[in-house]
Amino acid sequence: MFAAMGEILKKYGGWILQGVGYTLLVSLVSTVLGLLIGILIGIFRTTPKPKNKALAVLKKIADFLLSAYIEIFRGTPMMVQSMVIFWGFALLHGGRTMNVIFAGLLIVSVNTGAYMAEIVRGGILSVDKGQTEGAYAVGMSHFQTMRYVVLPQALRNILPSVANEFVINIKDTSVLNVIGFTELYFQAKTIVSINFNTFATYLLVAAIYFVLTFGVTRVLRLIEKKMDGKKNYVVLGSQNMDADSFARENAATGGQNNG
């Protein structure tokens, strides 16, 4: 069995590498783009209601459309979405099909964006309300608050979820094979159509997917660690301590502290 897998790797290595390349390209780019979409939606939805009546109505409509987008793209399978988008485009453009690579990026980004919007919203909600209030108190606009105070903290909180989405995307790009996108699973199907060796080929491809996802998980955990910085200082939980208690505690422990 392992000999057969080695044979397949040797004979079709080029195709497999091409498939891996496309898989990683689409997963990475789509996760990043999806995150950007999610952030935009997150900022927009948490904007306080505008004073102007007309703008308030517009915001309500926009909020509704965004909710619809999120619900629809989270509520239908990505495989079905890819068929609808790809063939819908062809129908509307007299038969010209979308460039398949662009189609793949579009479909996965838009799908990821819907999930990211919810993740980012969760991240923003997880930042203590006091932060926002404090920022408003010193005169920051909503956008400044988001950009300098809330989002940096929210992003750190959602990093594990984003990493999770990236890993999920690596596997889910396999559904793009139905529109002819030459990612890893599509290459596997092509190989099987030549060598008729179904089990060995797909076992090999499964192993490759595992190596990819495991590797990415490890790398992202490293990045998380780097982001947290060195552990030779501890962040104070200043929300639950007033100035007097803090001073007392500081004196008692002689400068060393546990927040």
Binding site: A4, G95, L155, T198
Partner: protein, 288 residues
């Protein structure tokens, strides 16, 4: 964490740029009039299959890795030459997607071992037939059905055919009469070969050239040579033949029929033999 350097406008600009660039790129890529776009599965030897190299006159597949070769590719080359256009082979792994593609205008021709059945004729036009073959059943060597002489010998067997094909319709139509079980159709021939090898099914339906090719590539398989309307499945000539599919009212129909008319019965047989020889050549990886 350092503050985000990207302002809102920048993010929106990036996204807008990305999506509009993509849409423009897709819109800009018109179908080139100097080329003909031919769709095929590239997984149905010896009609159309994938090679790793360009030996034996294979044509590079435009939208996937590998080179396409086979009887259909040879016919496609002849048509392209007669029309004076460049041949572009487009791989459609999903056989069911070929007709919608022609209807949508993404393809000029389907040359994929497709039979001009009445249902399909409602959606696309077909040329004159360019091959006719018997429907046979591929079985495993040493199985109880190896020496079957006709369909009635398959009583109690689990048989399967490719989804979306006339083979499956024929299989379904006569299941009750002959007492075999028609299993849920499968998407591709390699899948059926695998099911047969592992014993999940007792046999699958194929056209004779395809059966010959599969058996040469998989020595543990053999096929039962049935004859349409005699010992085998009921099949009208239109169902047993294969023809070139094209858009309704296509301007190419006359020209294609001329090309096909220039090929005698013997020419076609020789081409098929050639295609089968190439298909079972050096592109097989040893299994377990």
């Amino acid at each position: 964490m350092k503050s985000m350097k990207k302002p809102l406008a920048f993010i929106s600009a990036v996204l807008l740029l990305f999506f509009s660039a993509g849409i423009l790129a897709s819109c800009g890529s018109k179908k080139d009039e100097s080329k003909i776009y031919v769709g095929m599965e590239c997984g149905y030897a010896p009609f159309n299959y994938t090679q790793t190299d360009e030996q034996n006159g294979a044509v590079k597949i435009s939208n996937a890795a590998g080179y396409a070769n086979g009887y259909d590719v040879m016919i496609a080359k002849k048509i392209a030459e007669a029309l004076g256009k460049e041949l572009v082979i487009v791989k459609y792994y999903d056989f069911d997607a070929l007709i919608p593609a022609v209807q949508a205008g993404s393809l000029d021709f389907i040359i994929a071992g497709m039979s001009p059945t009445d249902k399909r004729k409602e959606q696309v036009d077909f040329s004159d037939p360019y091959y006719e073959s018997q429907l046979v059943v591929v079985v495993k060597k040493g199985s109880t059905y190896e020496n079957a002489a006709s369909l009635s010998d398959f009583a109690g067997a689990n048989l399967v055919a490719q989804s979306g094909t006339f083979h499956d319709e024929a299989l379904l139509a006569e299941a009750a009469a002959y007492g075999y079980t028609r299993k849920t159709p499968m998407a591709t021939f390699p899948e059926m070969v695998n099911a047969l090898k592992t014993g999940a099914i007792d046999g699958y339906v194929a056209e004779e050239p395809g059966a010959k090719s599969d058996c040469a590539s998989n020595p543990e398989l053999t096929y039962v040579p049935l004859i349409n309307n005699v010992t085998g499945f009921q099949a009208s000539p239109a169902d047993a033949q294969i023809a070139v599919g094209m858009t309704k009212g296509s301007k190419y129909r006359l020209a294609v029929n001329e090309v096909l008319a220039s090929l005698s019965e013997e020419d076609r047989l020789n081409l098929m033999l050639e295609a089968t020889a190439y298909a079972t050549g050096s592109n097989v990886v040893d299994g377990e």
